[in-house]
Amino acid sequence: MSVVDLLPLTVAIPLVGAALLALSGHWIRRMGCDILTALFATAQAAVLLVLWLHTAHGSPGHSPASWVGGWTPHRGESVGIVLVGDPVGVGAALLAALLVLAVVAYSWRYFDEPPARMPGTFPALVLLFEAGMCGFAVTGDLFDAFVFFELMGTAAYALTGYRVEDPRPVQGALTFGLVNSLGAYCSLLGIGLLYARTGELGMAQIGHALGAHRTDLLTVAAFVLVLTGLLVKAAVVPFHFWLADAHAVAPTPVCMLLSGVMVELGVYGAARVYWTVFSGAGGIPAPAVRGVLVCLGVVTALLGAVMCWQQRHLKRLLAFSTIGHVGLFLVAAALLDPEGAAGFALYVAGHAGAKAALFALTGVLLDQYGSVDVHGLFGRAKALRRSVGLLFVAGGLALAGLPPFGTGLGKSFAEHAAGSWLPVLTALFVVVSGVTGGAVLRAALRMFAGAGRRPGESGGPQTSGEGEEPEVRDPGRRVPRTMIAVPAVLLAACLALGLAPGVGGVFGRAGALFVSRADYQAAAGLPGPGATAPPPPLPDWTTAGVALGLLSTALAVGLAAVAVWGPARRGATARAARRALAACSRTLVLPLRGLHSGRLGDDVAWLGAGVAALLGAFSLLR
């Protein structure tokens, strides 16, 4: 037995915790439930930290792996399930565990009215959600990945709709559940096709066995179908419609988990499946994958940024900023090179800290004012300027990629990798992070400083965010300390990630292992060349990286300033600029907003259109 045999515990610990909560919640009451949840979340984070230290700093030979049930392969064949401890996989699980820990601390005594008969239900569901995410991140078996994917979905749907007193959460959760389930059925169909062709379920084993066949329509169909479920989870255009509707209505702690890590796991899964299953002979050619997925990423990033800028409902604003960033993550991962993968991993880690912190701060506003409407809160949050306001601005700057935040470093890796493939992609990273960060700063200026003119009512379809139910019903109470401390710690972690020495080395190695098919096959017990030469470590901060980070931050600050103080400017130029913006908004933005109708039928039609388009593209490009 070695350290890596602790991998299955990352599923077992939260599961036992959830069972205990459901079993004893009635007797141990509220406080007991909170303590029990904290204990199990801490144990889980500790185990993953040990695993990550074991795997991230390098061991000779290939990445470690653990066969559940001891079904180690004989002559390269096994009937069991392998869990692979490569740094990116374990790191993703660790990220989920740390965020769950933050959420547990944040929601300490969060809900007033847990279900009377089972007060442990909410924390138990959070732990099951964690089990699903961690299992999905570390498994090396395609069907097993599907099972944990479904577990993470089931728990997430229930958590999203948790405030049943209001019909909106129930509708949001229903859309979330149905669209994601449809995606998951596609994935299962694809797994069925792959099993029929190869007779294998392990990702490395399927990839190996595909080498005996030509790339044909079956391979293409399987690839697209498996990818569909993952891209739906990742909210990539045109599969993204569920995300904003679910985020707008989910309880704040759940938003932190959805945006911070679950959505990103979709991109992680797509990249993982490509590298382990489809990157070799008999798979899908790399140029096709790179071309199509980078295109999807660009469209997703731009749409997320544009829609983010349009929102006045804070949770929807943050949700669309997540879509924008997911587009950037997809671009980074789809470059199919080690540096892109390293940038993807680091960017996701930094973004998780910043985005979860922003959602947590939004939760404070909801708690204090019963509203998440930026216009309605205009100047009303001045009392919280020095605590929540400052942190909110810091979060906005982190989102824009200000050095030395971890988001800035991740962005600089991804940007460099993308720019060396296609220079215009550098601009995409700067613009999207600048616009999303700017939208957050604009909201902060309006709510905490009452800066500029009171924004007027504009026409067109929009969700205001007025009349939300406060999640904690105790008006006039002081902000609980944990609700400020948790976002502060999250932002500090995001900062530490960018400042820690040697981050480039650790993530550079992680990225190289992530894209190494040989390493994964060796870990899964297949014969092969095994370990590859370690890549040259990435430099922590480069001049170009810092300069681009400052540029996107300047863009964010500039956009926020123009949006807040621009409408009051006089003079011919200002008037002309306003007229041009209004025309642009009418022709481009309004139709786009109209597409986000929130109707389930529309979401499903777009899902189908997306699958058909991907099938068409990959059939032509194979």
Binding site: M1, L23, G69, G70, A124, L125, G132, A173, V220, G601
Partner: protein, 248 residues
């Protein structure tokens, strides 16, 4: 999007998907071939593990980690139902009225209920030997209990199922599966490793860990299905007023 545009978009997409999927299926290996790499290995492993039912060996031993995840999905669904279908402040509880049932229906229920329960127990209990197991038997057990709803009325069903006990049994069974896996780690082997004595092939106690995991799954599925249905039935039978998603 208008209704028409949506339908057109969906139909066009569906046509493309159907065409590509149909062409892809033509590339599938034909029926009746001799190469089944996983099946050959699984049957061989089943024999080594002295488990008579290969499906149960795959479910509860060779790929037990999958089953752990699947069973946890059911557990999450149960907790989700508990959370989402809870009685809210604006819902009143009403006492369901007794319902008149044909005597023949009542007789049928009275005869079939114990038989169904017995069948369920048998299917769960012999999961390691013959077709069936925890999943199938669990569903049969839950079905049996609900015969009382068909053959009598809701009040009889409510007397038959002790809600608190079922909730706890469900959680206990889910936790037991995860905890059973720790035996392997404790013995210095892997998680969920079948380290118990394997016993004699085709005996009730054989296959090591398989019958225990199988039983835990049986309890989890039976109680889980009853609890989920109970929450849905409560919504229609007992709660009045308010109305979720109603008139706001």
């Amino acid at each position: 999007m208008t209704r028409r545009a949506r339908t057109r978009l969906f139909l066009a997409a569906a046509a493309v998907i159907a065409a590509v999927f149909a062409l892809a299926c033509l590339r599938l290996p034909p029926f009746g071939t001799q190469t089944h790499p996983y099946a050959d290995r699984a049957v061989e492993a089943t024999m080594r593990q002295r488990t008579a039912n290969t499906v149960s060996s795959v479910n509860f031993d060779q790929r037990a980690f999958d089953t752990l995840g699947e069973e946890t999905i059911l557990f999450a669904a149960v907790l989700g139902a508990v959370g989402l279908l809870r009685r809210t402040a604006d819902e009143r509880r009403t006492r369901p009225r007794p319902v008149a049932v044909l005597p023949s229906t009542r007789l049928f229920g009275a005869v079939m209920l114990p038989i169904t329960l017995l069948t369920g127990v048998y299917i769960v209990g012999h999961g390691q030997l013959s077709p069936g197991g925890g999943f199938q038997g669990g569903v049969i057990l839950a079905t049996g209990v609900h015969l009382s709803y068909l053959a009598a009325d809701y009040r009889v069903l409510d007397r038959l199922r002790h809600r608190e006990a079922l909730d706890r049994a469900d959680a206990l069974a889910a936790g037991t599966f995860a905890a059973l896996g720790l035996i392997g780690l404790g013995a210095g082997a892997a998680y969920l490793q079948n380290v118990l004595h394997l016993g004699t092939f085709n005996q009730l106690v054989s296959g090591g860990l398989v019958p225990y995991i199988n039983a835990a799954v049986g309890v989890e599925v039976a109680t889980g299905v009853i609890v989920i249905l109970a929450h849905f039935l409560d919504q229609t039978e007992e709660f009045a007023g308010g109305g979720k998603g109603g008139s706001r």
